[in-house]
Symmetry: C2
Subunit: 311 residues, 2 copies
């Protein structure tokens, strides 16, 4: 229930990090693209095949190091429906390798429409009475601006199928304060209000380790808010973006964790995917470079946390 | 610039309504599904082919009546990447029939990721130096919870390619007040704050008819808020959901319009798509029933508005 499966993988691997899979073509080694474009005339199909080959190699190199991967839907959608095929096949491959998959799609809509998104990303689609998985992630990022109606259909699927959601609370980007940090008349910020809503939405799905199926996205770039929210939202598991490229360091993300070293998972996308560019190694060795960076990140964060203990 | 192309189509057809294309399988006549599933073994592919056949017939029946269509991305995504193919082909077909296409996907993310969504839905994707349209809508619904960073990449594409966005301001669903109607310390509601942000984001893209490229989603189910926002956001064009099925009537949507009858476009999805079920006519006549309902809706709304005049 809740994020238990994710938490167990984190404890098993002693690694509270998730590798983002945001495979823009410019991040992908030439030898992969050359092969894909030689084999396939359709540009979108060849691009999608490149994405998938890149992701599979990364997953192979990372699957014993990280507990989870987080494909960012936008980087697949930009390659059209072929890109969405690469997303579906990436998710299937990662699950086959026993990774927890967080689909980062920040979906949101009114209730009946949210049922369709819940089916698409966490549940099953009914076709002539038979259930089929469209994308099949383990967790989905969502936006709570529409209130409970847009969250309730997800809670149902989370409960029935042991899935989770991460609601945007305090995002990592520079302008996140424009709305999220405004003070409400009743005396709390908008992000804090959204956080309280997460606690409330999670009430019905208590997990075995104290965290519900309703998590929150809280950026590493705002350590003060991260500390405040960890204290105020004791049952809400955090997805923490903004580490590395966006400026958050290992000390900045420490407040995400409780005294057992649980409570959050830190994302790194570009630093892992593009480690081969930074290392300036042979591009054929990109997956090894990604693995080295994932290990470095794990060790850097675990040096701060100490040990992750299941209560 | 801005929503000028949409406004001209609205004036030309004297019809400020948009037909929502939310083609769940259960809404689609059996004869279409039977044909698609007989021709195709893959359930997702057959489902997507059904969606597309349904949409094309609706578009053929509606294209001289309505100025625009609004496919809701969730109802395609739930059928996987094949569903997304149906979305892309629906958009292409609607544009071929000279309709303005609003892709209702409520996308949102941090800046660099939003560039990918902007490319996917309004712009072009660069593949080996060549530009390709992934989905190719004319406007996109988006969520502004992340502030300016998540909007700026869209504004760039809107300007370069004559497109528009609709930002969620006051949504039509029952729980929209939970966050949106909270009062801020400085004395305005969250939705009003979001509305002011729309005015500000739109400053750089003034349209020829007084409306910028940054529109807002404001539900017909909250006529008081609709009236307040129309008055306070003079350059923001409104997409108004919630008419019909969700409870908004013709008088409720009147405040969306300025004295020229401009300023908004009212959506109806299910009432048009499923008119054949309500009429209880032969399912083979579903497109005629949809056309009758679209005309009825136009006439009902135009009876309130009077005439739409280009200034």
């Amino acid at each position: 229930m809740g994020f238990d499966r994710l938490i167990e993988k984190i404890a098993e691997k002693q690694n509270p990090t998730v590798a983002g899979l945001d495979p823009k073509l410019e991040f992908i080694p030439d030898f992969i693209k050359k092969k894909a474009f030689a084999a396939q005339e359709s540009p979108f199909k060849a691009a999608a095949d490149s994405l998938l080959a890149f992701n599979k190699a990364l997953i192979d190199a990372l699957c014993d190091i990280v507990p989870a991967v987080k494909p960012q839907a936008a980087y697949y959608e930009m390659y059209g429906y072929e890109g969405m095929r690469a997303l579906a096949e990436t998710i299937a491959y990662a699950k086959q390798k026993n990774l927890f998959v967080i689909t980062d799609a920040k979906r949101n809509d009114i209730g009946p429409t949210m049922e369709a998104y819940a089916a698409a990303h966490l549940g099953v689609t009914d076709i002539n009475g038979e259930p089929y998985e469209a994308f099949g992630g383990d967790a989905l990022t969502v936006n709570g601006y529409l209130g409970s109606d847009g969250i309730t259909p997800l809670l149902k699927v989370c409960k029935e199928r042991d899935k989770g959601i991460f609601v945007l609370v305090k995002t990592s980007n520079p302008s996140s304060s424009e709305l999220q940090n405004l003070e409400l008349a009743k005396g709390r910020t908008v992000y804090r209000q959204m956080g309280e809503m997460c606690e409330s939405w999670g009430k019905d799905s208590p997990g075995g380790y104290g965290y519900s199926a309703v998590g929150a996205v809280v950026g590493a770039t705002y350590p003060a808010e991260l500390a405040e929210l960890r204290e105020e939202l004791p049952h809400t598991f955090f997805l923490v973006p903004g580490y590395g490229a966006q400026g958050g360091g290992a000390k900045d993300i420490l407040p995400a964790f409780d005294s057992d070293g649980l409570g959050g998972i830190v994302n790194s996308s570009r630093a892992i995917m593009c480690a081969y560019q930074k290392e300036n190694c042979r591009e054929e060795d990109f997956a090894f470079a990604a693995r080295r960076e994932a290990i470095r990140m794990r060790d850097e964060i675990m040096a701060e946390i100490g040990e992750i203990k299941l209560p």
